[in-house]
């Protein structure tokens, strides 16, 4: 095992732990601070250089780790090409250009300040504003003074990753919905305040006596103010109720719309005839309360869709074309056509499906297949859009672009799955349909009774019945509880994006897990070191391997990237799919290890058994254990040892799985990875049902079979290959470090990346269900008591109004209990939350 160094420090910029001596330093505000990598150092110096070092005092979250050995050097000049400019930039008549960029790496409000300050200092930038909620920058600039690529370069200098942003349809709809609902909220709020004010005049008038002319005038004014509230602000309720009627399935919207509509009509009638009572104030207040709870719910729901730049992010924006004269030419990815020859450099994502015509390499297909080790690709092999080229530059001939790629196919599978998604009927909706029928029947009986006995009062008594049974408390019962629970979960780093989620969770009896990145970390770590040569210590052996791997981009090499080796390797060659070779010349004097083995220049190899054994001309060696990823390490003379790498389980996987099994959940593991790997994970976690080599289609079919057996299924996944099944599951969970597409599809996003938060979600879902139940019971029993009194004609309108308000308040107070954190956990969750966000490797 890798030894933990005693002296540790943290990177001042990104907060990452540095074991041993910090590789570099940056001077900020006169003090020298440790930095984990030259990338962070460059950024910190750039921030200091701009005079923006206050950023470090103001921020509440750590910055994004750059994980680069050099200054940010991404070339953005492709965005100055005409094809992309016309798509991204809108030019005004006065020559000013407007552009929206989606910015990766924003962690707190101080980032906004830093970005805005920095951008507004640039010559040619007229105005730059950055939105903390959507992580989007809106920039106005003069193209003759500054180019788009320069602006993007500057954003990269201070440690953020700019992506061009073009709003997709979903985001456009989300923005429209948001703006509409905030307008509705304002109309209802302002209307309520005004009508309440006049209602007090009317109440006072009723007690002290008021001339009818004044009373009627104030009623008219109230009517004028309530009308926009009913017809504009309450419109969504009427629309939903009409949809319910057409679908012959009543939800809570129907009684709400009936109550608003009936009270408004009756009040208008009372105003016109100068008789009875007006209820304009109740109508407005009721609408306002409901709109607030819906608004909060919607904000939570939009949280994930607004971030990121839509599907664009899965594919790179640019490509390198090899033209007819064999010249490299940078083009925009949308310009790529079938038959083009593209060059893909190591570390770059593949922009379109294609066949390799030159070179060999390995590709990381984890996002599409779930297999965490890169796959070897040779001439005439197919590479898929969205996968990442790991080792060597390759030339490909494009066979599919845009909508015909494998990636696009998975996305279309997602849309299909979303339409077939089964919903679990909500408790409140079921109650609502009985409730509406009951109220209408009772009102009819009351009216017919009183019209025979006292025809003059029949209408007003019936109205009192309707007002008393106003479903105010009933309709607030569910949304308030849900909003409170969602708020509490959000504080703990759990984002709930749908209304149905918390209720559906209590019905879940089967959970499907994805393996890579969900149960496991999704990256390789060193598990075991077995030196076969007794003169070589494991530490020295790892130093030697790390020196070799420093020259590789392969995920295996990343395992060693954090190891500060004193050795340097020279003339290193990569053998894609096999291993790496290089000579390590001298051993620095600082080391205490006096082993003569490594004093003189030597050639070493690390890689697959076959790669080493053919070099040494010895028979093929078998790894010590059959399972796992074993690498052999050797010098020119002899085999020196084995190392074992594995995609380790998340720390909390085992206890989460155990606790879920305790709760009688059935668990299964579906993975796109190799059977032997999946089997081992399943056995370690004692998950009895597992399947390997699953394509997204297989996973979806498996899920639908379970659902046909009457199971309510929860799916936990993070990759693009999980997206269709996430969409089809009754409830879906994605991790915060997962792909954007998975996060947009999931009902629950574990922003804190902790699997054991699942237990918290289940726990709070149960509490929420109980709260909703007690709320419903209270609201219904209030109605049961008040209804007979109203039917007998005992209740005055003002008594009905007070009863209604107090029952609503009680329901809200009961729901607010959910926001109280019970005992221990919240703070701990927050503190242990890892500060880094999406890993950088996926960024173009």
């Amino acid at each position: 095992m890798a030894k933990q160094m005693a002296n540790q420090s943290t990177c001042y910029h990104c907060g990452e732990t540095i074991s041993g001596k910090a590789p570099c330093f940056a001077v900020i505000n006169g003090t020298s601070h440790p930095m984990c990598c030259p990338g962070c150092q460059f950024v910190a110096e750039a921030i200091e250089g701009e005079g923006l070092a206050h950023y470090y005092q103001y921020r509440t979250e750590q910055a994004l780790k750059l994980g680069q050995d050099k200054a940010p050097t991404t070339d953005y000049t492709v965005y100055d090409r005409k094809a992309l400019q016309t798509q991204l930039v809108s030019q005004q008549l006065n020559g000013q250009c407007h552009v929206s960029l989606s910015i990766e790496g924003i962690t707190c409000a101080a980032c906004i300040w830093l970005l805005e300050k920095h951008l507004n200092q640039l010559k040619g930038v007229e105005q730059a504003s950055v939105n903390l909620t959507t992580h989007r920058a809106y920039i106005q600039y003069l193209p003759e003074h500054v180019k788009l690529s320069e602006i993007m370069q500057h954003i990269a200098y201070i440690g953020y990753l700019p992506h061009p942003f073009s709003m997709d349809k979903q985001q456009q709809l989300a923005q429209q919905e948001y703006r509409k609902s905030i307008r509705r909220l304002a109309v209802a709020g302002i209307g309520t305040m005004q009508v309440m004010m006049y209602a007090i005049a009317l109440y006072a008038g009723a007690l002290q006596g008021m001339e009818d002319s004044y009373r009627d005038f104030i009623r008219w004014v109230s009517f004028l103010l309530a009308t926009p509230v009913v017809f504009y602000a309450a419109q969504p309720f009427f629309k939903a109720a009409w949809r319910d009627v057409k679908a012959r399935h009543l939800s809570m919207d129907f009684p709400v719309a009936t109550a608003i509509g009936a009270a408004y009509t009756a009040s208008t009638w009372a105003m016109l005839t100068g008789s009875g009572e007006v209820y304009f104030d109740s109508v407005c207040m009721f609408t306002f309360f409901l709109l607030i709870s819906r608004f909060l719910e919607m904000r939570a729901r939009h949280h994930t869709t607004q971030q990121g730049s839509g599907l664009l992010k899965l594919l790179p924006d640019k490509a390198t074309r090899i033209d007819d004269n064999s010249q490299e030419q940078a083009i925009a990815a949308i310009e790529v056509e079938m038959g083009y020859t593209l060059r893909i450099k190591p570390g770059e994502p593949v922009p379109a499906d294609g066949v390799i015509i030159q070179g060999q390499t390995t590709c990381n297909e984890a996002m599409l297949t779930g297999e965490y080790l890169p796959v070897t690709k040779q001439v005439s092999d197919t590479v898929l859009a969205g996968t990442i080229n790991v080792e060597h530059a390759i030339d490909i001939q494009v066979t599919a672009t845009g909508q015909t790629t494998r990636l696009a196919h998975i996305v279309s599978l997602l849309e299909q799955a979303q339409q077939e998604k089964p919903f679990i009927a909500q408790l409140a909706d079921r109650v609502a349909s009985y409730f509406v029928t009951a109220v209408i029947l009772i009102a009819a009986v009351v009216y017919s009774y009183w019209s025979q006995h006292n025809p003059a009062d029949a209408f007003w008594i019936t109205l009192a019945v309707l007002v008393v049974t106003c479903p105010c408390a009933l309709s607030l019962a569910t949304p308030t509880a849900l909003t409170a629970a969602m708020g509490r979960l959000y504080q703990q780093g759990l984002l709930i994006t749908g209304n149905h989620v918390l209720e559906s969770l209590t019905h879940i009896n089967h959970i499907i897990f994805d393996k890579t990145g969900t149960l496991t970390e999704g990256k390789l770590t060193l598990e075991q070191v077995i030196p076969t040569n007794s003169t070589l210590s494991p530490e020295t052996m790892l130093d030697l391997i790390a020196a070799l791997e420093a020259h590789s981009e392969h995920p295996i090499a990343k395992t060693f990237a954090e190891r500060a080796t004193p050795l340097r390797a020279k003339s290193v060659t990569n053998h894609p799919g096999y291993g790496i070779e290089g000579s390590i010349s001298s051993h620095p004097a600082s080391s205490n290890d006096s082993n003569p083995e490594i004093r003189k220049a030597q050639r070493y190899r690390v890689g697959k058994s076959v790669f080493i054994c053919s070099w040494l001309n010895i028979p093929l060696l078998d790894p010590p254990e059959p399972v796992g990823q074993w690498l052999l390490f050797a010098s020119e003379q002899e085999v020196l040892g084995w190392i074992k790498l594995a995609d380790t389980l998340r720390q909390d996987s085992a206890h989460t799985i155990h606790d879920l099994q305790q709760q009688n959940m059935q668990l299964s593991l579906l993975s796109g990875d190799q059977p032997n790997v999946v089997k081992r994970v399943a056995e370690t976690l004692s998950i009895s049902s597992w399947q390997a080599n699953m394509t997204p289609e297989d996973k979806l079919a498996q899920l639908q079979t379970l659902q046909q057996q009457g199971k309510n299924v929860l799916m936990v996944g993070d990759g693009i290959n999980d997206v269709p099944i996430l969409a089809a599951a009754n409830v879906s969970v994605s991790l915060g470090c997962g792909s954007d597409l998975a996060k947009n599809t999931a009902d629950i996003v574990l922003l804190n990346n902790q699997l054991n938060s699942l237990l918290t979600v289940f726990d709070i879902a149960k509490q929420t269900r109980n709260t909703i139940r007690t709320n419903l019971v209270w609201a219904l029993s209030y109605n049961l008591v008040a209804l007979p009194l109203a039917a007998c004609g005992i209740i005055q309108p003002w008594m009905a109004a007070i009863g209604m308000a107090s029952s609503s308040l009680l329901v809200v107070a009961n729901a607010l209990r959910l926001t109280r954190t019970s005992k221990c956990s919240t703070k701990q969750h927050l503190q242990t939350q890892p500060s880094q966000i999406t890993p950088l490797e996926t960024a173009p």
Binding site: A46, G49, G51, L122, T133, E150, R183, A186, F217, L225
Partner: protein, 65 residues
């Protein structure tokens, strides 16, 4: 009390203006970000007066202010 016939319609006009102003602000994106403005107001005051020292890449592009 006849004055209410004048004052209440006046108040209604104010309400209409307020709603119109609010709609205008929403359309201008003033309400799109409800989080950062509450923090950013605090960031602009300088904790310690300090002259920014322009570094290499910063001086190339800085506005001459």
């Amino acid at each position: 009390m006849d004055i209410i016939y004048l004052l209440i319609p006046l108040a209604l006009i104010f309400v209409a203006v307020a709603v119109w102003a609010f709609f205008w602000a929403v359309d201008n994106g003033q309400y799109d970000d409800l989080e950062s403005p509450s923090h950013s107001i605090l960031f602009d005051q300088e904790p310690s007066p300090q002259q920014p020292t322009p570094s290499k890449q910063a001086s190339e592009n800085k506005a001459n202010d």
